[in-house]
């Protein structure tokens, strides 16, 4: 007879506030197989876990049920606890009475019986839990980093420095990402390019790093330790091996289009490198704008290319790489400030966004670092910086704070005051948020040393009057409406998830939140892992953050990858499909259903009525099987099962829930 221990967690008042834990305990004592019931304030705490270990030993428990939070949170924790007491970790089962009960109900009268139901079901399942053993798989000692902004570069360098191969993927022509567009970084005001470009060069030259720019993620198959990734190398129009990066092609190209890198503040050619320090220093051909592709004539670039590297007929190619781990560092998009009709972006040329300002103030930017108004190329004498355009605005933008805008707008104001000594800088803000090392000091310096004028109020309207831009707002500190006249306005847009974040997430089978930011496995305890083992997150793709945080997260993700790749083998989850050969009729209808091609026919020999006969049965490749269970439904014999989610276990849960004792707790 199995001996089940049931541990009911109060989770402080999180559970006990809505569920009468004592009553559930009293009822649970009656359940078949249950020999021990115990309540804990916090079962996941050290004493809570110790109590489990003690009870396993004292009560000779062979099954453990914890009724607490979601198994997605603490199942692994408790499995380790149970294992430390010498029990097979898969003898553990969990009832989710917090997320699925106490947190979503308010009435103790109905929440308590429901909690008991959940406990009963878990006990019924636990009674059928079997000892499972983890298998092992060989790890492909190579990592893929998707996105070569500062996060991707940092992660790639860290992993490569640890001695592992890295494939660094970037869809733009150059690595560098958003940071390459920036001028200076807060709060130290060191030059963004000066600290970034050496890293870009390091990444390009590192013997362990293979760089694929102008390339996109096509498909991800496989699983932790054994991913097979398909990469689309977009046609560059240039033979990278022949090209010397001399730049003649771009200087000769007759086509001029607004530069994406300069956020439309400057122009580029139809064959171009986004900026002089681009890595690799190889141009790409923009076929949509190229005269040859539009009209069939031109080819000037080809004529001038001494290296004979121009390739008009180049096509996209697909390559397949095997990697053991993936770091996703796909970055962010900016909120389209046009959505604020009242701010006149697009109507008034001198209303620009912050990234455009970065390009204006950047020494290598289109104005050589001179802050000039787009309308008349005059230097503005007054600039207003408007914060939270799209951030913290449920009506038009997003609910969250974009975290970096306060700081970079203060930086912008300082830069403006630095360059235009007699200029006036206004910052319109809701709250100034400076939670970072030396951030608050930076803010103080802006106000005190640079005379930046901070106005607490969100402009309700920007309009033009007598050639000036007027910001209408309420100064909420003074409690009265104001109008401020300036020559230029800089809007600080919210940071958004990439518009194709969902697609990226689906390609990799990882989850994303309502905004499109990729989900970490746990917001506090597993911040760089995803719910798909072997895939990690770095940078703003996970949520808005500034450069220091991004780099820290990138190194964290890298260390996770290094840890993973430092092993030759890794343990695999045993909760995968298995075949009862005795029951299997060998029809193999399970085979076409398996998404991992993990099922094959296998010939077995056995004695049937005294005769040795051989017959075919289905066999599961434990390295390939991921445990989805689709095959089990196709199996009429009932021969196919998923360990940990067997037919017997799932039916037991249904039966227990709906069986004779359903009203047991409710009836009282």
């Amino acid at each position: 007879m199995k001996r089940v221990g049931v541990f009911l967690c109060w989770c402080g008042s999180n559970i006990a506030g809505t569920v009468d834990v004592g009553k559930v305990a009293e009822q649970a004592r009656r359940l078949p197989g249950v020999v021990h019931v115990e309540e804990n304030k916090y079962t996941c705490s050290e004493p809570g876990q110790a109590a489990i270990v003690k009870a396993i030993k004292d009560q000779r428990l062979d099954r453990v049920v914890v009724a607490s939070c979601s198994p997605r949170l603490h199942e692994a924790t408790f499995r380790r606890t149970v294992e430390s007491a010498g029990l097979n970790p898969y003898f553990f089962e969990m009832a989710n009475v917090r997320e699925h009960c106490s947190w979503i109900h308010t009435d103790k009268e109905t929440a308590t019986p429901k909690a008991f139901d959940l406990v009963r079901m878990a006990v019924a399942k636990a009674l059928r839990n079997e000892a499972l053993t983890r298998g092992s798989i060989t790890i492909e000692k190579r990592a893929l980093v998707i996105g070569a902004g500062i996060a991707g570069i940092q992660a790639a360098l860290d992993i490569a420095d640890a001695g592992h191969e890295v494939i660094l993927l970037e869809r733009e022509p150059t690595i560098g990402g958003r940071m390459a567009q920036l001028d200076k970084t807060f709060p130290t005001l060191d030059c963004s390019q000066c600290i970034l470009t050496p890293k870009m060069v390091d990444a390009a030259k590192h013997p362990n790093i293979t760089l694929y720019t102008w390339s996109e993620l096509e498909k991800v198959a496989g699983y932790i330790g054994n991913f097979t990734v398909t990469i689309r190398r977009k046609a560059r129009g240039v033979d990278e091996t022949l090209c010397t990066g001399c730049g003649v092609c771009q200087s000769k190209c007759p086509v001029k289009v607004p530069s994406e890198f300069d956020e439309g503040m400057g122009m580029r050619k139809a064959i171009y490198s986004p900026f002089p320090q681009a890595v690799p220093n190889r141009p790409v051909m923009d076929r949509a704008n190229c005269t040859f592709f539009k009209t069939g004539k031109c080819k000037i670039c080809e004529r001038f290319c001494e290296a004979k590297a121009i390739r008009f007929d180049q096509e996209d190619s697909l390559i397949e790489v095997k990697v053991g781990a993936i770091v996703t560092a796909t970055g962010f998009d900016l909120f389209k400030v046009e959505k604020y009709g009242e701010y006149g972006y697009g109507l008034y040329p001198d209303v620009i966004n912050s990234l455009q300002f970065e390009r204006l103030v950047n020494a290598s930017g289109p104005t050589d670092g001179k802050i000039k108004k787009p309308s008349d190329h005059e230097i503005p004498k007054s600039v207003a910086f408007v914060l939270c355009v799209g951030s913290r605005d449920e009506q038009k933008g997003t609910t969250y704070c974009s975290r970096a805008c306060c700081m970079y707008s203060i930086k912008h104001a300082i830069q403006f005051r630095d360059k235009v000594k007699d200029g006036r800088a206004y910052v319109f803000y809701m709250d100034i948020r400076t939670p970072g090392k030396s951030y608050e000091e930076f803010y103080k310096r802006a106000a005190v040393d640079y005379g930046v004028e901070f106005i607490r109020g969100r402009p309700s309207k920007i309009f033009s009057r007598n050639g000036k831009l007027v910001l209408k707002a309420e100064d909420t500190l003074l409690g009265r409406p104001i109008e401020v006249e300036v020559e230029m306005v800089v809007l600080a847009p919210a940071m958004l998830a990439r518009n194709d974040a969902a697609k990226i997430a689906q390609t990799m089978s990882i989850s994303y939140d309502g905004y499109g930011f990729l989900n970490e496995a746990h917001p506090k305890l597993r911040p760089v892992e995803t719910n798909t083992a072997g895939i990690f997150l770095a940078g703003v793709c996970q949520g808005p953050k500034d450069i220091p945080d991004t780099v820290a997260q990138a190194s964290a993700a890298a260390s996770k990858v290094i840890g993973l790749l430092s092993h030759e083998q890794m343990a695999t989850e045993p909760m995968i499909a298995r075949v009862s050969e005795a029951l299997c009729s060998g029809c193999l209808w399970c085979k076409p259903i398996c998404p991992y091609q993990a099922i094959e026919a296998k010939t077995i020999t056995e004695k049937i009525q005294g005769k040795v006969v051989s017959r075919e049965v289905a066999a599961v490749n434990s390295g390939l099987c991921q445990g989805c269970g689709a095959c089990t439904v196709a199996c009429r014999d009932g021969a196919m099962n998923i360990s940990g989610f067997t037919n017997d276990q799932l039916l037991a849960e249904v039966d227990e829930l709906l069986g004779a004792s359903r009203p047991a707790c409710a009836a009282e």
Binding site: R30, A124, D655, E656, A660, S661, R662
Partner: protein, 370 residues
């Protein structure tokens, strides 16, 4: 044939009164009777509202009335976990609730005999099945003599007849003798047991207009009963008296079993329609510390019937299982109890989808070389 049974009471009941009788009986008894559902005659428990479906025309219901004393599924006990005084738990076990008294009405003489025959298994020897005993003790069997035996009938191949009394408390004989009972006609209702006597004198019988025999009909009655008992059965005539018990002693290893069993479907049709098959299995059903233990009909033709934990099966093939079924009926039981475990109802003949039945085996066995 055994000595003629002695009537304890004789009454007359009009055919038109049967409905009222059953309705009155249903008030205090569980009543089982032949009814027709969607074209198929079946023996079923009927409520007062279903009396109108009574159908005595078919000689054979598809199933036999054995479920009246051996329900196909019968709760044996219920259990529930309760807390004991010391915070632990203990099992509270209760025997299954007792049913009301039962009347099996319109039972054919073969089926009535089968009840008696099977009863010997459950009630004699070292063990008595108390639950079966209790059920028998509260059951009255009202048989009806067969006016026109069916094509597959062969009760006469044993010590039985269309007018036999064995196992019945009361037998109804058509007043006009073998042949159909017309509307307006009546039955002689003859009690052969004390229970039957009481039954005919009971309130329900009175309500149904069960009356004393008109004076001077005793002679006629005797003749008519004799006519029923002397009636031949079509298959019985063909088969003659079953006489293979001894011969089968030497045929255990015969190749015949392999041959005859090869077309068996391994289904339970023969077993479940047979009035004399009595094997059962026991199972529990329950959840959350409460449940029911029950027994249910099992069948020896099933590949699971003898399968043991660990996978060993003493009767691994259809050959073994088919042999078992027929040897049980024709040899083993005969050796133990001195009679065949068959009453010649002919249901296996009618129901087996592949024509594999007892008369066939009897006739084949006669032709086999020992």
């Amino acid at each position: 044939m055994a000595q003629s049974p002695v009537p304890k009471a004789t009454r007359l009941v009009k055919k038109a009164g049967l409905g009222a009788w059953l309705t009155a009986l249903a008030a205090d008894n569980n009543v089982m009777a032949p009814v027709t559902v969607d074209g198929k005659p079946l023996f079923r428990w009927i409520g007062a509202g279903e009396v109108g479906q009574l159908d005595l025309a078919a000689v054979h219901t598809v199933n036999s009335p054995k479920g009246g004393v051996m329900p196909q599924t019968e709760p044996m006990l219920t259990y529930s976990a309760v807390q004991d005084g010391s915070g632990g738990k203990t099992l509270d076990i209760k025997p299954a609730a007792e049913d009301r008294p039962a009347v099996l009405f319109g039972v054919r003489p073969c089926d009535a005999a089968a009840i008696d025959l099977v009863g010997k298994v459950y009630l004699t020897g070292e063990f008595t099945d108390e639950q079966y005993q209790a059920r028998r003790d509260r059951t009255t069997v009202v048989a009806i003599a067969c006016a026109a035996p069916a094509k597959a009938c062969f009760c006469t191949s044993f010590d039985l007849s269309p007018g036999a009394v064995r196992g019945a408390d009361v037998v109804l004989y058509g007043r006009s003798g073998p042949g159909s009972v017309a509307e307006g006609d009546a039955y002689y209702a003859i009690a052969y047991t004390e229970r039957g006597e009481a039954f005919l004198g009971g309130a329900a019988a009175k309500a149904a207009g069960v009356s004393d025999l008109p004076a001077g009909e005793a002679d006629k009655l005797e003749k008519i009963v004799a006519a029923f008992r002397g009636l031949a059965t079509p298959l019985g005539k063909k088969l003659g008296k079953v006489d293979v018990a001894d011969k089968l002693e030497s045929l255990f290893e015969s190749a015949y079993w392999e041959k005859v069993s090869s077309r068996c479907l391994s289904c339970a049709t023969c077993t479940f329609v047979c009035p004399t098959c009595y094997c059962f299995g026991v199972a529990d059903t329950g959840a959350g510390g409460q449940g029911v233990r029950f027994r249910y009909w099992d069948f020896c033709k099933s590949p699971q019937f003898m399968l043991m934990a660990g996978g060993h099966d003493p009767r691994p093939a259809k050959k073994n299982r088919t042999r078992q079924r027929f040897l049980h009926k024709l040899n083993y039981h005969h050796n133990r109890c001195g009679e065949y475990l068959c009453v010649g109802c002919g249901r296996c003949v009618e129901s087996c989808p592949v024509g594999l039945h007892l008369p066939l085996v009897v006739s084949d066995v006669r032709g086999l070389q020992p």
